[in-house]
């Protein structure tokens, strides 16, 4: 299979990065074959945090299985819950009230900004800059406080349920989101000044971890990783769900395909998320926040698939129903897994320091890969 540690027959050194290593995000295990400092081969090994969420969901009802998806990609847990709810609603053919739809979309975009901000801080820390981490967490804290007030939790929200959302918005919600938008607009320039414009940072990112458009498509890269290589893959644009079809926002596309392009896609995406929130925050209609549903949900016999755009890319939920109260089979398509599979191609032939820059811009969340 693979050499644990030592030397290959060709005389290359084999070392393990991870599963507990400051350069890896979480418990990712990379078996690296190195020629001096040049990477010959990279093998990601998964399974350290496998919790069999898919199998577990088969014994849970359609209301219950949604909470587990918060534990997959915990940085965009709200969007995962959204995808699952949409899939169940598709099967039941429930019409979600417009107020609930707009609440969901605003929360989605706030989650996306929070996720990208954490990525920005963590990636800069990977590259050796320690201050950005605190700057990013300061603004992210504003979002988590908004989430805590309305959803009741900071990270694993479980706010969305089939038919709408669990509770109405907090009375202070609109005021706080508006003050966050003002805060964000003053701070994004600070981010750019601190990191983006830095020559040392740019030299470490430009031309590193190149992923061609063809490779991005064949590996199934979605989200900012795919879009940085010029693949148009924004689910919000291509297959609009909820109110995304009516909104004005741009799909950010870069063609360079290197780490800096991926970085810029995410920075611009945060601005687009702010643009979406600005359009919606004053236009939340009154009305119900939860549609009337039956006490016990039973999906009709058949197969249902729903995809949403998380902060990392396309998240798909595939439910096979036999007509009972529990799903027969659930499959999640997580964006991180496909994005990680492109890593060996991206870093082949580059130096080991570039691996960190390439992996940082993939924005991996390991529980999302392993489920």
């Amino acid at each position: 299979m693979f050499e644990e540690i030592g030397t290959t027959e060709d005389g290359y050194m084999v070392i393990n990065i991870g599963p507990q290593h400051p350069a890896t995000h979480g418990v990712l295990h990379l078996v690296m074959t190195l020629n001096g400092e040049t990477i010959v081969k990279t093998e990601p090994h998964l399974g350290y945090i496998h919790r069999s969420i898919e199998k577990m969901s088969e014994s849970l009802t359609y209301r219950q299985f949604i909470y587990a998806t918060s534990r997959m990609d915990y940085l965009s847990s709200h969007i995962n819950n959204h995808g699952c709810s949409l899939c169940v609603e598709k099967g039941l053919q429930i019409e979600v009230p417009e107020r609930a739809q707009i609440i969901r979309v605003i929360m989605d975009e706030l989650t996306r900004i929070a996720s990208h901000e954490l990525w920005w801080g963590a990636m800069a820390m990977d590259l050796g800059a320690f201050t950005p981490f605190f700057h990013a967490f300061r603004e992210r804290e504003t979002i988590t406080e908004i989430m805590e007030e309305t959803c009741g939790a900071r990270l694993t929200m479980n706010y969305i349920c089939p038919g709408g959302v669990m509770a109405d918005l907090h009375p202070d919600f609109q005021k706080k989101v508006k003050s966050f938008i003002t805060l964000y607009k003053s701070k994004i320039n600070e981010y750019n000044e601190l990191v983006t414009g830095n020559i040392i940072f740019q030299n470490r990112m430009k031309g590193v971890g190149y992923l061609s458009k063809e490779d991005a498509i064949s590996f199934g890269c979605t989200g900012p990783v795919g879009r940085a290589s010029g693949v148009s893959c924004d689910i919000r644009k291509l297959y609009p769900y909820e109110v995304y079809g009516k909104l004005q926002f741009d799909e950010i596309l870069e063609t360079a395909g290197d780490s800096f392009a991926r970085y810029m896609v995410r920075i611009h995406e945060m601005n687009q998320s702010i643009r979406i929130i600005e359009q919606l925050i004053d236009n939340i209609p009154d009305g119900e926040f939860l549609a009337k549903t039956k006490a016990v949900l039973k999906l009709p016999k058949g197969e249902f698939y729903q995809r949403v755009e998380t902060a990392r890319g396309e998240f798909g939920v595939y439910i096979v129903s036999e007509g009972g109260t529990t799903p027969y089979r659930i499959k999640y398509r997580s964006p991180g897994f496909s994005n990680l599979s492109a890593l060996p191609t991206m870093v082949k032939g580059s130096k080991i320091g570039d691996l960190i820059a390439a992996m940082g811009t993939l924005d991996l969340v390991i529980p999302d890969l392993d489920r």
Binding site: Y67, N158, A167, L194
Partner: protein, 158 residues
Amino acid sequence: MFITNYIKEIFNGVKSLLTGMRITGYYFVHPKEIITEQYPDNRATLKMANRFRGEVVMIHNENNEHACTGCSACELACPNGTIKIINKFDINAEGKKKKAIDTFVYHLELCTMCNLCVIACPTDTIKMDQTFEHSVFDRSQLTKVLNRPGSKIKAGVE
């Protein structure tokens, strides 16, 4: 040519470093803009949001009465088997048997604070409390009985 570029690069690098350092310096001389909270020291003033999900508690009024009918809706709604309700039969004034809860067992160690039980409850007798300091030295202390000793069901709740 090479030397000029080399020197230029050094100056550009230093310049962009100083741009970044300007922000660091700004916060250095403006300590009031730092928002860090010193957690264990501010426990007296720390207030969680009203909806914050810390643990499940049962609402009792001043007469030590609750509204739990023992219908097990929360037990069925829970994805993790956190709640276990043991029922008994009370004999009321007219001599009829009536179902009532004996113990409402709540396993905090299994709870994921998903709020499904609170939503499922038809009489709104359980709610999420805002406490979050749950660490104990023994696992058995995390298994809690939510109905208080001697409590009984409120009159009029079916």
